[in-house]
């Protein structure tokens, strides 16, 4: 068992001010608002809350929110890694431009993204027209929700992986090649394991972002009950009906579930990072 010690001696002063300031900051910005949700839920009638949370419509929205976020995060983990790899390893004209485009989903108001995606992916849109010929409908289906979440989650993986790949020396790959490893072996056993903690961290952030995303999804999903309603939408709907307790109940379930998932992913990530850390 690791013994936790409160203060690590350091010649540099400033542990207590820094520690107190960050604790205070976290309390004000994160803990107080979040505990308000719990308190609000606790004041309500439990039977009512359980009815809200276990209603088929809400359960379906949980499934969609977690399922679509998970798929989107997986897709982003794969392609985000690829994009980061290309940006780190190759130089090509317009590289800086591409590099700044990555951050656009951060900066763009999510409603704008939602409207743009919907316009492209509806059955008559640029992309939707082609896809609908194959019987694939994106807008107003769970696929559309996933596409929107992929869009908003992309920067997280790219920005998490990029610095790690950049600081991995070429000579490690060269060493693997000189020892007879194929490109695939080199990637699977040498390059990827080094980047894996960062990929996991990016995956976790993209996933969390997907769970909370509202603006871009509500346009492309069509918000059909039992089919394309995401959990945040149901929260807003409850609020509009002045059912604050019901809204917070849906929120508490999401909060607990996402907290658990992030905890597990971060634990995996740091266990991975701890192995052979410098």
């Amino acid at each position: 068992m690791r013994a936790y010690r409160f203060k690590q001696f350091s010649v540099l002063p400033g542990f207590w001010p820094a520690f107190s300031a960050s604790t205070l900051y976290l309390t004000l910005i994160v803990l107080v608002p979040l505990s308000a949700i719990f308190l609000r839920t606790a004041t309500a009638d439990w039977a009512h809350l359980w009815k809200v949370v276990s209603s088929p419509q809400v359960v379906a929205s949980y499934k969609l929110s977690f399922g679509a976020s998970l798929v989107a995060a997986v897709v982003n983990a794969v392609f985000g890694f690829l994009v980061a790899w290309v940006l780190v390893r190759y130089s090509f004209p317009g590289k800086r431009l591409v590099d700044s485009i990555i951050d656009l989903p951060f900066a763009l108001p999510t409603a704008v993204a939602g409207i743009a995606l919907t316009t492209i992916y509806v059955d008559g849109g640029w992309v939707g027209r082609v896809l609908s010929r194959w019987g694939i409908h994106v807008a107003f289906t769970p696929i559309g929700v996933t596409v929107a979440l992929i869009f908003v989650g992309l920067p997280f993986v790219v920005r998490a992986v990029q610095p790690v790949l950049a600081e991995t020396d070429r000579d490690i790959e060269e060493a693997a090649h000189s020892l007879g490893a194929t490109r695939w072996h080199t990637f699977r056993r040498v390059v990827f394991p080094l980047a894996r903690p960062a990929v996991l961290a990016g995956f976790a952030m993209a996933f969390a972002r997907g769970l909370g995303e509202y603006g871009s999804v509500v346009f492309i999903s069509g918000n059909m009950p039992m089919k394309t309603q995401i959990a945040p939408l149901l929260i807003v709907t409850r609020l509009e009906q002045y059912d604050y307790a019901g809204a917070t109940a849906i929120a508490v379930v999401m909060l607990l579930a996402s907290f658990l998932m992030l905890l597990v992913i971060n634990a995996l990530s740091s266990a991975d990072r701890g192995k052979g850390a410098r």
Partner: protein
């Protein structure tokens, strides 16, 4: 296995790293590629390994035992390559690092697990790190890491061993120890080896032959004794250790440097041509009175008696700084002190004249 590099030319953009360089390393030999940074020595090593390719259309070839391997990829050439910064896989233990080359072989060539373990244990014994097999690279010292890197390279039973400044990132004492160890290792396994270094002591001490490189070409190839005692050019003379430089000219078959007149017969140099005299600090003598030998008048500026030799710094009448090194016994006999006016005579020197053939 012998290595031959033939007519290698390599340019990076507009910068020429190698200009038509050819080199042969005989079976079982340990050859050092010696030169300052930017001389092309690492590029040549990487081309031999297959990590770089010579410029297209220049007809460069790399031959292992007479067979051209220029189109073989690095993994197919079966070379053991050791990198300056170790390039260990930091997500793997020492054991797994060494086993890597054995584990990535295609299934039908792969040794059974028990054989792999046996081989790794042998290599751990060779590098004297049996007890650290389960450690990660981050838990090792620099010298230990480089030994692991060497064992990892040897695990694939390479035909040649290529070392790129293997001790460059280590401190002086560890470097000295590993140098001796590497030479011993080479004497036991007798693998054809090529070592890149910018440290002339390392090259002279370890190698059977030394290849001195400068500005994308080879200046001289020879045994350590040859390149040290018979440098083929001013560059080699200068690179092999401290030298004193005097300027003079050729006059009727003799090289004249102020009061010093040295025989320079048998050379093609014509009268009036500029000449430069290179003298090692230990090839100079200091006397208080002009003796039989002609000497340069100089004033002692500083005496440094700590170390295996006494180092005397002087300023010649003509303004040049001169450094003389002598054994302590000789220093005591000469009774030299700072501020003394003395005569400096030359015991042995190399004369280089301007080469107009370039």
């Amino acid at each position: 296995m012998s290595i031959e590099a033939r007519n290698i030319t390599k340019t990076f953009g507009r910068y020429a790293a190698l200009r038509d360089v050819s080199l042969t390393v005989n079976e079982g030999e340990l050859v050092a590629l010696l030169g300052p940074s930017g001389s092309g020595k690492t590029t040549l090593l990487r081309i031999i390994a297959g990590l770089e390719t010579p410029d297209a259309g220049t007809g460069g070839a790399v031959l292992f035992d007479g067979r051209n391997v220029i189109d073989d990829r690095v993994g197919e050439r079966r070379v053991g390559f050791v990198f300056q910064h170790y390039a260990l896989f930091r997500n793997m233990t020492v054991f797994e690092n060494i086993a890597f080359g054995l584990r990535v072989r295609p299934r039908k060539e792969r040794l059974p697990e028990e054989k792999i373990r046996e081989r790794v244990r042998e290599l751990l014994e060779l590098i004297q790190l049996e007890s650290l097999a389960a450690r990660f690279p981050s838990q090792l010292s620099g010298g230990q890491r480089q030994r692991v890197a060497l064992a990892r390279a040897l695990a694939i039973e390479p035909k040649v061993l290529l070392l790129d400044e293997p001790f460059g990132a280590l401190d002086a004492k560890v470097r000295q120890g590993l140098r001796t160890w590497l030479r011993k290792l080479h004497d036991t396994v007798h693998m054809t080896s090529l070592l890149v270094t910018h440290d002339q002591d390392e090259a002279l001490e370890v190698a059977d032959r030394v290849v001195v490189m400068n500005q994308a070409h080879i200046e001289q190839v020879g045994t350590p004794e040859e390149v040290f005692h018979h440098p083929a050019s001013e560059f080699v003379m200068d690179f092999m250790g401290a030298v004193n430089l005097f300027h003079g000219r050729i006059e009727s078959g003799k090289a004249v440097f102020g009061p010093l007149v040295l025989d320079h017969a048998g050379s093609a140099a014509s009268d009036g041509q500029a000449a430069r005299l290179f003298v090692r600090p230990y090839d100079l003598d200091i006397t208080h009175r002009p003796g039989g030998e002609p000497g340069i008048c100089a004033r002692v500026t500083r005496v440094q008696a700590a170390g295996p030799h006494v180092r005397v710094e002087l300023r010649a009448e003509s303004g040049e700084a001169v450094v003389v090194e002598m054994p302590h016994a000789q220093f005591r006999a000469a009774r030299v002190h700072a501020g003394d006016d003395v005569y400096v005579s030359v015991r042995d020197a190399r004369i280089f004249t301007e080469d107009y053939s370039i």
